[in-house]
Amino acid sequence: MSAPSVPSVPIVERVPRHAEALLQSLGADRDFVDDVLGDLAEEYLLRVRWDGAGSARRWYYAQALRTAPYLLRDWCRRLGPRDASSLVVPILWALLAGFATDATMVALLPRLTFFATGIPLNAYINHWKSTGDMMPWVFVALASRQTIPAGTAGWVAGLIGKRAPLAHGLILAATVFVATSSIVASHSATFSTFAAQVFVNATSLAASCLAGGIFAALWVQRRASREFATRLRSASV
């Protein structure tokens, strides 16, 4: 089989940039990512010709989702001591941010039984259960207290280190999520059922991952645009 012929049209403005940015932010080896993105871009162009832009775009997003685990695995496989040590400071930062958020919440909501239950998270839930009028605050508190600071800290660490901001954010968010869930689950006064706790925690995790992913994608997209321009210039020379 010979190589498929491709039209010689610059794709810089055509490939779905957010999907591309997502794949770039997962921290896999640069050459590996370039090979993957190059193939995706080339086939995307062909599919635009054959099936139209909408179909090609859907195909691209589907491929990006299917390929993301491989890139994340590549990053995990190459995770060295430097990456591991770079996670320590953000974890501490995330924990401090969690306490700061708790303190803010207590100041904002003086009726909370913060000290009665021992664990801040329990106070939000118990108060909501007793009054029934604090639902938005409960979700704000959970989402902001647990995973958003952790995910954001990981993302910032990735940006500073110029290595896999989204992967750092996801791993930190997941770590703090698991740790908090374990603490909360071990406390008898938290939720009436474990399923309810898992639901609320999963909601906050999903929200933080989504927010972190969008921020990371936007940042990487901006950087990628500059790199693309440079590469195209060098390719045309």
């Binding site: 089989m1 498929p4 993105l37 193939d39 685990p69 590549d74 590469r231 195209l232 390719a235």
Partner: protein, 111 residues
């Protein structure tokens, strides 16, 4: 030298690279594999397999000049090494040995 074992997808990809000769790059390999296996593997799966085969020294690669159609990225062309060719022959001999004695399509035995 220790013999490199290969899985079924690795062997399929290795054979595709051998078949494509000078045109063995990711997109062409993925299409060839999809055509023969009847299954659409993701780009990540194919490149992970190619990386693994390179680590086993069954493949080598070189890059071409960057092209606009790939967003200013280069193509990586793969070719089979001598060890890769040996592995292909061994796999074929093994398959022959496993199938020896079966001359025609099998049918279930009737009791």
């Amino acid at each position: 030298m220790r013999k490199a074992g290969v899985g079924s997808l690795e062997l399929t990809v290795l054979l595709s690279v051998a078949r494509l000769r000078e045109d063995g790059y990711g997109l062409a390999i993925r299409r060839d594999v999809a055509l023969r296996m009847g299954r659409d593997y993701s780009v990540g799966a194919i490149y992970t397999t190619l990386e693994r085969l390179q680590a086993k020294r069954l493949l080598t690669s070189r890059t071409t000049a960057p092209t606009p159609t790939r967003g200013g990225r280069a193509r990586r062309l793969f070719s089979v090494t001598a060890a890769g060719h040996r592995t292909i022959h061994e796999a074929r001999n093994l398959t022959k040995a496993v199938w020896s004695g079966i001359g025609r399509p099998l049918s279930p035995s009737r009791a």
